[in-house]
Amino acid sequence: MEKFFLAMAIALGILILLILYRAVFGPTVFDRIIGSGFIGTKTIVLLLLMGFIYKRVDMFIDLALAYSILNFIGTLAFSKYFLRKGAKYK
């Protein structure tokens, strides 16, 4: 089962690399924000997979919980901060 978890972690890492293209070269600011949020969601799952690989789930669950709350607050703060009225994106 450790090999299955390792394969899942590698697949999630490849998906994070694919999302990084849009998060870096996105046309607008909001594409970059949603890309970073999407990478954050995958990181939560990746942390739990790390816990199951190293057999220390009790520690990594708390890390994943804190990271999920931080990701949510970060996205909300970005969406408030980058609100520019009359920015006229095309």
Binding site: L12, K42, S79
Partner: protein
């Protein structure tokens, strides 16, 4: 039970992959938001259900119950938080006058919208 957990995780990986393809291929911010806002939530939820089943099967004790409860708490929190973040970001983009993409270039909405003061 391990097989069922593995099936849940593979389904979650499938939804993550579909959301990633939509995020890379769709033409507009709103379309990309449509792909990620759903695939993200459902994929992480399926992964967490798989983790809960695996934990309960392999560690049937008090610590296993506590870890499963924490995993279920992460799942419920993310089920509430991810659509909220999506909605806040979408509203911020709409109020920054990001016009939705159409195929022939004609906008489908007038800016500012009727009945609202900006």
């Amino acid at each position: 039970m391990t097989i069922i957990a593995a099936i849940f995780m593979i389904a979650g990986l499938f939804f993550f992959m579909a959301a990633t393809i939509g995020f890379l291929r769709f033409p507009d911010f709103y379309c990309r938001m449509h792909a990620t806002g759903k695939g993200d939530t459902l994929g992480s939820l399926l992964f967490l259900i798989g983790f809960v089943l695996y934990t309960l099967h392999h560690d049937f004790s008090w610590m296993g119950f506590v870890q499963s409860a924490k995993l279920i708490f992460i799942a419920i929190f993310w089920l509430l938080a991810s659509p909220t973040a999506t909605h806040a970001l979408l509203r911020s983009a709409f109020e920054s006058e990001l016009i939705p993409w159409t195929k022939d270039g004609k906008p489908v909405i007038q800016w500012p919208p009727k009945g609202r003061e900006y």
